[in-house]
Symmetry: C2
Subunit: 322 residues, 2 copies
């Protein structure tokens, strides 16, 4: 049976899985991204694990391609460029190295684009031709599909919705700008909002017992589910900022659906309800009541690997632009 290797490169972990054309992840393995040594040592380790996974069972698999999702991944270059969360700087020629070593075609894109392809082939966007996937994790990424194809733009970096501006002199962002969407809408973003609300109000809240570093989006979710007023307000504010920005994005792209993916989206209605409400309130009239806001259709534990695998399956079918 033909399989591809889906590789999700994160700042901390790299997850590698073998995925069929039907989107079944047969098996996967995780490794630390911060291996000892240089980038070549890292690639060696990845190649070794792909080999182990292929050999693990006697199920007669043929490796036909490698798909990679990575922070600051450029599809056009097949490389990672200046990723702030990785130890290796500059241009990392991931595709060139992997294809040389494993002798199969490879393709790379950023994590959010991979997620969009994963949803299209295997998840909530099956049958859709115009949609946006918004990944809500440590940052906010977006993968845009137009007419069934990934929108990568002139240099492969399209879809940086997380770095559009909410407030010109707002919160400091890791990218060097201020007021970027991801400083409000992401796991660290809702934490910042919770701290702001704790500073501004006198409301009693379980959140007052947490130091900044320990207050996770999960804590805020649990508190909100128990009725904690500050936690609920934090979700309301996060949904408002996200809904308004999505309304602007709909005006530009006119998608059929927006899919919320990962981390913060697991809070379910706590985040979906205010986002949907503020999205509708802010939509230009021709778009009202048309755009679906839906959760990811990929299983959490291998969503990112499925996305990376979808990239190379699409590539093998010749359907990626440019």
């Amino acid at each position: 049976m033909e399989v591809v290797a889906g590789i999700d490169i994160g700042g901390t972990n790299t997850v590698i899985g073998l995925v069929t054309r039907e989107g079944i992840c047969l098996r996967q393995q995780s490794m630390y991204t911060r291996v000892e040594g240089n980038f070549t040592d890292y690639i060696n380790k990845v190649v070794e694990i792909v080999g182990q996974l292929m050999a693990e069972k006697d199920d007669n698999l043929t490796l036909v391609g490698i798909g990679v999702g990575a922070p600051n991944g450029s599809y056009s270059l097949g490389a990672i460029v200046d990723a702030p969360n990785l130890v290796w700087k500059g241009v990392l020629p991931v595709c060139k190295d992997l294809t040389e070593r494993l002798r199969v075609p490879s393709a790379l894109t950023n994590d959010a684009n991979a997620a969009a392809l994963g949803e299209m082939l295997f998840g909530a966007a099956k049958g859709l031709k115009h949609f946006i996937v918004v990944t809500l994790g440590t940052g906010l990424g977006s993968g845009i599909v137009v007419d069934g194809k990934l929108l990568v733009g002139s240099d492969g970096f399209a879809g940086e919705l997380g770095h559009t501006t909410v407030k010109p002199w707002g919160r400091q962002c890791g990218c060097g700008k201020k007021g970027c969407l991801e400083t409000y809408v992401s796991a660290p973003g809702i934490r910042r909002t919770a701290f702001k609300l704790l500073a501004d109000s006198n409301s009693q809240s379980i959140l007052r017992t947490y130091p900044f570093e320990q207050l996770t989006a999960k804590c805020i979710t649990q508190a909100a589910l128990k009725g904690d007023k500050v936690a609920r307000e934090a979700f309301e504010y996060t949904g408002k900022i996200l809904g308004m920005k999505l309304a602007d994005t709909v005006a530009v792209l006119s998608p059929e659906a927006i899919i919320l993916f990962g981390g913060l989206s697991n809070a379910g209605e706590l985040i979906f309800e205010p986002t949907k409400r503020h999205l509708e309130e802010n939509l230009f009239s021709v778009f009202k009541n048309k755009v679906k806001l839906i959760p990811s259709g990929l299983k959490d534990e291998n969503a990112a690997v499925l996305g990376a695998a979808a990239l190379i399956w699409k590539e093998l079918e010749g359907k990626i632009q440019p």
Copy 2:
């Protein structure tokens, strides 16, 4: 010689021209859009003028198609839908009617999309595959080209950049929302800005001699060229709002170039310089110093007709999505 009819439907005037594949407008004629009678009477008048133009000289022309640029034009429907500036409401089946009467293929899109196609075939975007045209007139429209194709979205209404939000509780917009980009960046937008500045400051200004209705973008341009402080500030503010919004748009779409088209863009450096400066200041790092901001390459007097003609030339070549 084969020609198409390019038809630009505006709130006040409709301009009809015969255009070659090379983008030469052989001749054109203008008529009032608000003809006596119903929409069928209007179409009759358009058909009559196309016939007159074709017969005007003995230059052996063959009509091969009709392209239409119109406010609230839907490419997918080939119709105008609820255009606030037209007297006829509801869905106006322009393409169906014109094709029935003139027996050639027709296509319709909004004015900004037509402008984008005009720039691509005949103007400043020749050879570009990823660009945005922003039309600065009574409103603000945008036409987006991705990978050489017009981005029309799921329902044909993509590209409504003018109705993205600058300030959530900002200036009242004709669309029913508040704080839309076009209430700041357009001919009426810069007038509103000038009045705001006149209200806020004590600066002497020639603009204080104009009543609101008579203060045109042209007056403000002339005052700015003479060094009028308030007029110059009005351009600075307009460029700032536009530059910031374009930075967001670049982050999503990653174009090679942005083309400013029509009305306000004729103010030249007065609008280009502050827009470019604020665009660069607000760009996410990977996009800095990459995106060109350029003026239209189409001749003013028939730019809109050339755009409408480009639409049907592209259509005849089978290059429009979806």
